[in-house]
Symmetry: C2
Subunit: 342 residues, 2 copies
Amino acid sequence: MSSPELFAVLMAGGSGTRFWPASRRAKPKQFLRLAGKRSLIQATWDRLAGLVPPENVLVVAGEAHADLVRKHLPRLPSGNLLCEPVGRNTTPCIAWAACEIERRAPRSVQVVLPSDHVIHPPKRFRELLRLSAEAAAAEDVLVTLGVRPSSPATGFGYIEQGEPAGAGLFRVARFVEKPERKRAEEFLASGRFLWNAGIFVWSTASILKALGEFTPQTLAGARAIVASGVKDSYAALESQPIDRSVLERAHNVRVVPVDFEWSDVGSWEALAEFGPGRAEVVSVESSNCIAWTEQDEVVALLGVRDLVVVHAGKVTLVCPRERAQDVRALVAAMEQRDKRFV
Amino acid sequence: MSSPELFAVLMAGGSGTRFWPASRRAKPKQFLRLAGKRSLIQATWDRLAGLVPPENVLVVAGEAHADLVRKHLPRLPSGNLLCEPVGRNTTPCIAWAACEIERRAPRSVQVVLPSDHVIHPPKRFRELLRLSAEAAAAEDVLVTLGVRPSSPATGFGYIEQGEPAGAGLFRVARFVEKPERKRAEEFLASGRFLWNAGIFVWSTASILKALGEFTPQTLAGARAIVASGVKDSYAALESQPIDRSVLERAHNVRVVPVDFEWSDVGSWEALAEFGPGRAEVVSVESSNCIAWTEQDEVVALLGVRDLVVVHAGKVTLVCPRERAQDVRALVAAMEQRDKRFV
């Protein structure tokens, strides 16, 4: 059997506030160089090299960020950028991309992935995607990648790994939404649970079939947009994550436990995993701080510990590392005070 | 008796590091707008308005800062800027200015003052200088202004107030160098001690006479510089504070206890006295921090307290308020790392 054509869908619609003040409404996290010299979306693009040809990479992003996408991914064909008039979570995004890919190559397989994760090494990532794509080409399955938990994190959905289903895949016993701490500790101890990384592999036919079964209105809306080229109706599509709309309900979901390093880079705190942060730091009697600045800036620390210190776009942020996930409270306060900085 | 002509000498040779990163070698504290819209040296100039005419104001500053002085004080006559080739503390500075003023008006009275203090209200400041100047015109005395202590500060020299000497002046029982904490507490409790504010009033004749008695070589050197216009020999003058060289040894020193608000703005910590600092601050669950930035910048604080947060010249400083006086340690570390930021 010859391999079916492989497409990739980069979901770049995120507009989170957890990397404020570096991330702004006009420049969300995926466009930041948080870990290395390339932005997260560029690193995601790079990671697909050799697996998916550029002409088969689609990016779904907010209209406000279209220029940024073009700037960060100059080799992306212009017709491969799907601009959402408004964000509607992952289900309409995936449905739209699936219909567009169906139009081009109905017998293809797709990998669908966030554009703002950090993964290492890329080679192993591609190997597991290839393995998953082969399974998805051979069988009507929806494959999701599962990350072996390294801590009882409460910020992820969990997947309970079921019976082996051949070629490195496993059945899914159940999906569990973000758990309480105690439950997360049990999941970690059991060894049977994986983090839902939000990276999916399926044939175009399989995802269209599942969407048709579980969320037919969204699929019909997406088909209409692709057929007409008019996307006014996008805002009317139901805003739902694909986990909720399809994966938790479908019986043909498979999980591939992955052994590459993975981070969703969920807050400034996560930056500690990638070294001391992107800042020149001068430090006296200080320890365990995370610093990040624009280029050619310096952070000077004296007698402090466990702080996040960021300077970006005329804003200086200081908070304890353990409060990094609450930065959104500052964004909300700033929203009231001076929208220029939001 | 007609009032003698009044001169002012602004000592602007300071090059401290305690306001780093806002202050730099190229732009010391006196040129910063730490408390209000005018730099400290501009506020010092403003404060003399109506007391000393601009043509009688002399500024002594380092050669490297001559352009900054001209920019901050555009009404300063060019011949009134005395540029030190090197800093030699206050004795050579005062001797040089005294000789220059002697050349212009030997029967004059001078006020000699630092250019980097904060004083309020200016009206009361001028009243007490005028009172001191009248005393200095009438009698061969060296008048120093003494600030009633508000805390057992260990960073100032103290003056023990002696017997009344007419017209608001007192004799000086003794000068005490910066005391230990316990001793400072005793001074505060006694009610007899004043902080030495480093603001002096004397007739040109009286200071020249005292310099001739206690530090004749420095006086001779200063006279030679004024006579020749060549200041190569300035570096050879003994580096000493005027308190040490003259005031602690002279028997005609008088002190005027002052009742205006005064601060030498000795560290970022001192900024708390003047309000929340010059920064737009957005704060969530944070308290008691001092923030300072360049214009149109914001400081965002989440879950922190008692911190100093400064952003200036591409450097972000974070330290506890109680460590603010140790910022020089960071400057020393920076000196080793990247001199661009020193």
